[in-house]
């Protein structure tokens, strides 16, 4: 019997698929949070792998109205191609009132966190699958794979439940929800190796378009800064990332407002 050994990429993929299948088994009212970025698109790909080509639960896109035009196009194209039940949630009131990024904490909170709350309230999801990773931010590195949120969306980071081996929290109280993080153990460069291996479609915003700059991390247009880079294809990208010391979210203005912004945002329900 021919045996093909597992490499690091195989192991990462297997662990994520296991987590996704566990979430599906335990939580019937489930959704995947799709921000159209590289991580959540890899996550979507893993969901398709776990269910042999299907996405058996809805995808929720929290639309702040400030996303790049290319992202909206990508979203619509692939929602159709991959037969995704796409639900879009927007904090219409805040957007109509002209919420902007003058005060980044307030803007993220209103358009993303509140947007998410509205989405969950509207569709009644009891569990959400998200593509956050430990290495993105120190606060995210404290996360559990299956992480509960109370009915106010608060993250009780001071008293998280224990999580051992591959055994995860499998019940949620009424009105609260569970966040499932299948990519927690992946690093930024792991994501790109996987995109390359699987030939996963990704928006070209991540690559140098000829002006010597690219986006390393993508969110809302007003708060995303480009980095100096000539990486115009995946191999260059991987090369650059293997040799860099700068952190991925260095160009994301909202994390920088003050040292504890991310923690405060996350405690209130941010991703």
């Amino acid at each position: 019997m021919k045996k093909e050994p597992m490499d690091r990429m195989d192991e990462l993929e297997a662990q994520s698929i296991y987590i996704i299948r566990e979430a599906f088994y335990h939580y019937k009212n489930l959704a995947i949070l799709w921000s159209i970025g590289k991580d959540s698109t890899v996550l979507m790909w893993l969901v398709r792998k776990a269910f042999f080509g299907n996405v058996p639960f809805p995808a929720l896109h929290i639309d702040t109205s400030y996303k790049f035009e290319k992202m909206y196009k990508f979203r619509d194209e692939y929602a159709k191609k991959w037969n995704i039940d796409l639900k879009v949630a927007r904090n219409e009131k805040a957007i109509a009132e002209g919420m902007s990024n003058e005060k980044k904490f307030d803007c993220c909170n209103a358009l993303k966190t509140e947007g998410l709350k509205m989405g969950i309230a509207k569709f009644g999801f009891e569990a959400l699958i998200l593509g956050i990773r430990r290495d993105e931010h120190g606060i995210r590195s404290k996360e559990r794979t299956f992480s509960p949120r109370n009915e106010k969306f608060e993250w009780n980071y001071k008293d998280q439940p224990p999580e051992l081996w591959n055994q995860y929290k499998n019940e949620t109280e009424e009105k609260s929800h569970i966040r499932v993080h299948p990519l927690l153990h992946w690093t930024e460069v792991d994501i790109w190796y996987y995109i390359k291996r699987e030939e996963i479609p990704i928006t070209d915003l991540y690559f140098d378009q000829g002006d010597g700059k690219r986006f390393r991390s993508i969110g809302c247009e007003p708060c995303c800064g480009k980095i100096d880079s000539c990486a115009s294809n995946i191999d260059d990208m991987i090369d650059e990332l293997e040799n860099t010391n700068t952190s991925e979210r260095a160009g994301r203005a909202q994390d920088k407002e003050d040292a504890t912004t991310m923690q405060k945002l996350r405690a209130l329900g941010y991703m």
């Binding site: 019997m1 021919k2 045996k3 093909e4 050994p5 597992m6 490499d7 690091r8 990429m9 195989d10 192991e11 993929e13 297997a14 698929i17 296991y18 299948r21 599906f24 088994y25 398709r48 792998k49 776990a50 269910f51 042999f52 080509g53 430990r134 290495d135 931010h137 120190g138 606060i139 590195s141 404290k142 559990r144 980071y157 001071k158 998280q160 439940p161 224990p162 999580e163 051992l164 081996w165 591959n166 055994q167 929290k169 499998n170 019940e171 949620t172 690093t187 792991d190 699987e198 191999d235 991987i238 090369d239 293997e242 860099t244 010391n245 700068t246 952190s247 260095a250 040292a259 923690q263």
Partner: protein
């Protein structure tokens, strides 16, 4: 470009013995600290008054304010040989469940001891817990050697002491290394402060540790995770935790006892076509003739011979992690691989205080937070288990109450 191997280890030890500083220093000495993080650390530290490497790991506001680690986190660094993930675990008794959560993901452990303070309560507790978690690769690091003038005598005194203690728990350290995390002695490079130490640097020893490998040649264990309908056929999905599985292979599902032949290994858009090996998440289709209705989540497909352990009486040492104690007569959920079985607690024996490691009583009526005891459980259905040394995944388990993990243990 090929991906390097990844190796995860946990750093444990008594609070304030310098874990966070050690980690900060490892990142610094291997040039793994991003420049913007260095700036961030300097900016945050200046307002507190002291530049601290410890800030690299302590990201929660409360942690920085009180200079204490609350929950486990992970950071990355790399050597020429491979990529490392350091799992930092809180030392304080209050956060024991977070220390256990972090340690459960590690392939090895660094047990840190402050050269001046010596072996303390957490030092012992953590070493003992590591043995209960099944962590076998251990390096003891004697830190803060600068505070004891880099004296060889003091190092030897501690080395002897910890070796004896570890022996009591059936553990032995692969190496005992003297360092000063603050000054950077013997971490990444040797300095002239400890010429009497003939061993290697900590980093060199780390590079030598073996990554945990899934046992491809071991016994076959495929716990059923779920069953999907695909192309009008039933596909059983799960993670192959040990051995290999290929078309034509005969297996027996336990505990139902049904035999079956594998018809097909199902993957989606995968370049792999051969037999599945340990670690892979796959789907399997079975030859017609098997009553698929008998197969449900929790069943484990195994080699025809030899069998795993199958029974309803489960006995193992367990560490309790909940503020609510457990009592003899209580009902609890036993979770092992994908099995979830309701059990009654029949006996609580050898109840131990995990700080002092003293036996509280040999026959107990209850077990409390941070205590360890040998539990005898009566399961309401057959459980399929293995000794931890044979198959890790079916050799370890957690106990749950109301959907939360309250205890864990391994079958030794």
């Amino acid at each position: 470009m090929a991906m390097k191997e990844e190796f995860k280890f946990v750093v444990v030890g008594h609070v304030d013995h310098g874990k966070s500083t050690l980690i900060g220093r490892l990142l610094f000495d291997t040039n793994s600290l991003p420049p913007d993080k260095m700036d961030e650390v300097r900016a945050a530290s200046d307002s507190a008054g002291t530049p601290e490497f410890a800030f690299v790991m302590d990201h929660l506001e409360e942690e920085r304010e009180n200079l204490i680690t609350i929950d486990t986190a992970q950071v990355w660094f790399k050597t020429d040989k491979r990529d490392y993930v350091i799992i930092d675990a809180p030392g304080h008794k209050q956060f024991l469940k977070n220390m256990i959560t972090g340690s459960s993901q590690a392939s090895a452990a660094l047990l840190l001891i402050d050269a001046k303070e010596g072996i303390r309560e957490q030092t012992q507790r953590h070493a003992y817990l590591l043995s209960l978690l099944g962590i076998k690769q251990l390096i003891v690091v004697i830190n803060k050697m600068d505070l004891v003038d880099f004296k060889e005598d003091r190092f030897n005194e501690l080395k002897t002491g910890i070796t004896e203690k570890l022996n009591e728990y059936g553990l032995s350290a692969l190496h005992v290394v003297p360092i000063s995390a603050k000054e950077g002695d013997n971490l990444a490079k040797k300095t002239d402060t400890m010429p009497w130490f003939k061993g290697n640097t900590l980093l060199a020893y780390l590079d030598d540790l073996k990554a945990g490998e899934s046992d491809v040649d071991g016994v076959t264990r495929f716990p059923v995770q779920d069953i999907y309908d695909h192309d009008n056929e039933k596909v059983i999905v799960g993670k192959l935790i040990s051995g290999s599985l290929g078309a034509g292979q005969e297996v027996i599902f336990h505990p139902c006892g049904k035999s079956a032949t594998i018809k097909e290994i199902v993957r989606f858009e995968s370049p792999k076509t051969g037999a599945a090996v340990a670690g892979e998440c796959i789907g399997i289709k079975l030859e017609d003739g098997i009553a698929i209705k008998a197969i449900k989540r929790g069943e484990v497909a195994c080699d025809v011979d030899p069998s795993p352990m199958i029974g309803t009486r489960l006995v193992a040492p367990v560490f309790w992690m909940s503020g609510e104690p457990v009592e003899v007569g209580d009902t609890i959920e036993f979770k092992c691989a994908t099995q979830q079985i309701e059990c009654k607690v029949k006996k609580i024996n050898d109840r131990i205080n995990s700080s002092t490691l003293e036996m509280i009583e040999s026959e107990a009526k209850e077990l409390c937070d941070t205590e360890v005891a040998k539990l005898t459980l009566q399961a309401t259905d057959y459980a399929v288990t293995d000794s931890f040394d044979l198959v890790q995944e079916t050799g370890r388990f957690v106990l749950m109450r109301d959907g939360d993990t309250v205890a864990g243990g391994i079958f030794q």
